[in-house]
Amino acid sequence: MNLRRTIRSRLRSLAQSRAVRREIDEELRLHLELRTAENLAAGMSPEEAARAARKRFGNLQSVREECREKRGANLGEATLQDIRFGLRMLIKRPGFTTAIVLTFGLGIGLNTAVFSAVNAVLLQPLPYPAPEQLVQVLKNAQPPWEINPEMTAMLGVRETLAWAEENRVFSQIGAYEWQGANLTGGNEAERVDCAKVSSSFLSVLGVPPMLGRGFLPEEDRPGGPAVAILSHGIWQRRFGSDTNVLGRTITLDAKPYTVVGVLAPTFHFTAQYDLLIPLALSQGKFAMPRVIGRLKSGVSLVQARVALDTIYQRARDPKEKGQVVLVGMHEHVVAGSRLSLLIYLGAVSFILLIACANVANLLLARAAQRRKEIAVRLAIGAGRLRIVRQLVTESALLAGLGAALGLLLAFWGKDLLHIFIPDLPTLPMDARVLAFTLLLALFTGLLFGLAPAWESSRISLNEALNEDGRVTGTTGRRQHRLVRLLVLAQVGLALVLLVGAGLLAQTFLRLRGVDPGFRPDHILSMTIVLSEPKYPEARSRAAYFQHVIERLRALSGVAAVGANAMLPLTQFRMTYSGLEIEGQTAPAPGEYRFLRCGIVNGDYFRAMGIPLKKGRSFTDDDQAGEPEVALVNESFARRYFPHADPIGKRLGSGKDAMTIVGVVGDERLAVESPAEVQIYRCYLQAGAGVMSLAVRTHGDPAKLAGAVRSAVLSVDRDQPLYSLMTLDQRLADSLRPQRLNMLLVGTLGALALGLSVVGIYGVLSFSVARRTHEIGVRMALGAERGDILRLVIGEGLKLTLAGVCIGVFAALGLTRLLASLLWGVSAFDPATFAGVSALLIAVALIACWLPACRAAKVDPMTVLRYE
């Protein structure tokens, strides 16, 4: 009988055991009748024929039993019996059961919670029809785009239009571009995130608006009607879910738009957009759109890439280089979260393994207590597999209860997960998560129940039947070896987690200890982006900010007001790529010299606490029309004028050339990035449309938020300020990923340490119990308490050291996966490895102490009398 038939037959027996038994009886009766008939035909009398048939057949009951056994006719009943007995055993030992269910529950719960995040972020398909056909078109970019990897998604107008015109691989193609805008009218001006999209955008995604319509092709042309589609969120928040909103006019950057649609609440794209407006691309107009497409059926990603690249190479700007890259839309959306989530999943799976090792140890200890029972069962005819099945049923019951508890913990714990990973979407406990939990329970129940079960079934019958309850002989030694192996694995796994936690903690602490070059305390910061139509010229923009700065300076409690178009810790960056520097040779063709450029007021450096090292800062005399001046930072001075005074040197050429008038200290734009070579221009001369303000206060800056907002809006109520927060808060936010990584992995590391300590304690207790007699003899022969303490602690220490060695090797292999999350510390940092190992050994020593003390208190007289 092949395996499939056997399994089918067993499953049938499980469900219809009575029918199977009836069939067997019927078959046997037919055999007997056939033989009787043969005997009758051979001339025997009916009685003689029946008797001869029975005799030839053998013991009918034995044959029946054998047939039932072979076809598993009693499988269902036996399974029920195992479950019933298993439950009874668990109820009779509540302490043992609780310990295991809690351990399983913790491990399974953690894994389920993190898996629910993986499921929601990485495994859920995008909420569009046939999402697998959606692709994001990227460019394998060459300089200058390498400044920002995010720009690989940004493409040129030429190729975007060419693809829209010529592509044969997409059934539909669409483009979009982010744009911030000031939404005015109604209550208060608001800074909103807009997606400028092509008219085909919603059709590519396959999601029509909930109200109204998408954009028409004629609206997606330069000079076309100004129309907008509201997101569900802004429709609710700003328009009170008014279904008559269609046709109403809203004002974006001082330009009126007619609302033509409202998106469904389920609409979710790569980012949360408040509004959609037409992209209206045209040749010659500057834009950096991103492109999405829906693959025609039968077209592979590779074919599409080749086709789009051919078009791109023909259409691209000749100065540009690069190749087209296509990635599935889902892949593109989840790429940023993948590594962290997989690391978290890896970490919690380590916890589960450690927890399971503890469970296996408990089961082994329990099996040692049940040796006699198992020996009796084996002696009276239970097969080894039958014993294994019974014991595995018990561990599966425990895993099942653990899974139920784990599900409950995960249900509560997923809210906790939102604290660690705030950007997570809602985590549904759907069929996939339930199936994962079920599989996990089955896997853990089988894997960690099987080893103790198999080990138990291998006992020496003679030895076990005749012993008095003590675990001795080869079986005890074998079991103890297995227990020690499990503890070794536990310590190793815990060390890997702790090293990971240590490296992430170092990263966070080092980042927090970085001197950013400015003093973030007592500073309230915010950003204002002026509407271009209302402030089209540099002069009017400069005048607006001058008014704002004056109003803020006049507030009581304000010490200084700084303004910078490129305030550290904000998203704004400005870069010169071809500025001439007096005395420096120009870069070779195809090469670029990048210079960060801040546009600031004179008080910026005082407000931020950045020292003026040489020369002067900007003054009110540095007005537009006056000679252009600039400041440079120390990095600039070091790089370009290492042996000369930069003051008086010129930057740029012709009428726009600037003279360097001062040198200031370096400031980091982001904590994790070193200070860059930077120049500063005066805002009165440069007239930036985007400025962030840094208001240094005498007292708590947060308390001035209301007054600051009013002061800014009093200049022009249609220019909203946003991102109003203290610089300390901004700094903390910029370190949030590192802090969360440290907290999450650190918590898991601590948990792993705790579980391992329990494991070490358990194995030593087991060992002491096993060796009580030996210890008694040693003491009778003159061993002192100190000798016994050393004996037991030495055993624990050896175990821990071996586990630490294994863990160090495993960590050396695994921590490299963390490399991209680390800063200022190597994935192989010897101090972290040494510190964590020392911590583990110290905690393990504490875990060894209690069993060692118990061993030292053994009374030799009692033990020998017992013998």
Partner: protein, 233 residues
């Protein structure tokens, strides 16, 4: 009912235990024949190999060499599963320390070996009830072993051995953990079972109980030194 074939035939059985570099000869050249309905007693001083011989007879252990036939079939090289099956169907064990399972009731203890073979629930119930009735423990069916006296526990162990309707009962010092009154009662029960046709092999060092047997095998240093057939009194 005696047949021409012996139930058990041992020929030149050797059992050697290896511990590190030390060889211990527990049995040397033991030959023995047990027929249906026999009552055989194995006796000898402590360490002479009685229990080892009983373990080999009960397929709890394998001989190092020699021939072991059960119902004319060689069993010395059966695999683990086959030995379990033979033990379950052909052999009933009665241990010195009863070896009842504390977490099972009396009824469940007797039922236990029957659950390892293809019997229906009804068939098991019938056999368990019959076995308990035979040893006079029906009234205690729902009790747990800890609630019984030593003698009662041994009666339950006998019932467990009988439930499977084995070809032979192997009793290893069944009175070793009992006082003389309970010991006598258990031995009377075995006598009764033998009188009803059961084949019994008893390990004992008590000469009073050896006398119950039709055949006594004396072991010394792992060898049979004498075999006699005392008259049944």
């Amino acid at each position: 009912m005696p047949t021409t074939l012996p139930l058990i035939q041992l020929e030149n059985i050797e059992k050697v235990f290896l511990t590190d570099e030390v060889e211990t000869h527990a049995l040397s050249g033991v030959s023995l024949e047990i027929r249906h309905g026999d009552y055989v007693s194995i006796s000898g001083p402590s360490g002479c190999g009685k229990s080892t011989l009983l373990s080999i007879l009960g397929l709890l252990d394998s001989p190092t060499s020699g021939k072991y036939e059960l119902r004319g079939e060689p069993v010395e090289h059966l695999d683990y599963a086959a030995r379990s099956r033979v033990r379950n169907r052909e052999i009933g064990f009665i241990f010195q320390s009863f070896n009842l399972i504390g977490d099972l009731t009396v009824w469940e203890n007797v039922e236990l070996p029957l659950t390892y073979r293809g019997l229906t629930k009804e068939e098991r119930r019938e056999r368990v009830d019959e076995a308990l009735a035979k040893v006079g423990m029906t009234a205690r069916a729902k009790h747990y072993p800890a609630q019984l006296s030593g003698g009662q526990q041994q009666r339950v162990a006998v019932a467990r051995a009988l439930g499977g309707r084995p070809s032979i009962l192997l009793a290893d010092e069944p009175t070793g953990n009992l006082d003389s009154k309970n010991g006598d009662a258990v031995m009377a029960l075995l006598r009764e079972l033998h009188a009803e046709g059961a084949t019994i092999c008893l390990v004992t060092h008590d000469p009073r109980y050896s006398r119950d047997a039709q055949k006594t095998v004396h072991l010394f240093d792992g060898q049979i030194v004498d075999g006699e057939m005392p008259a049944i009194t």
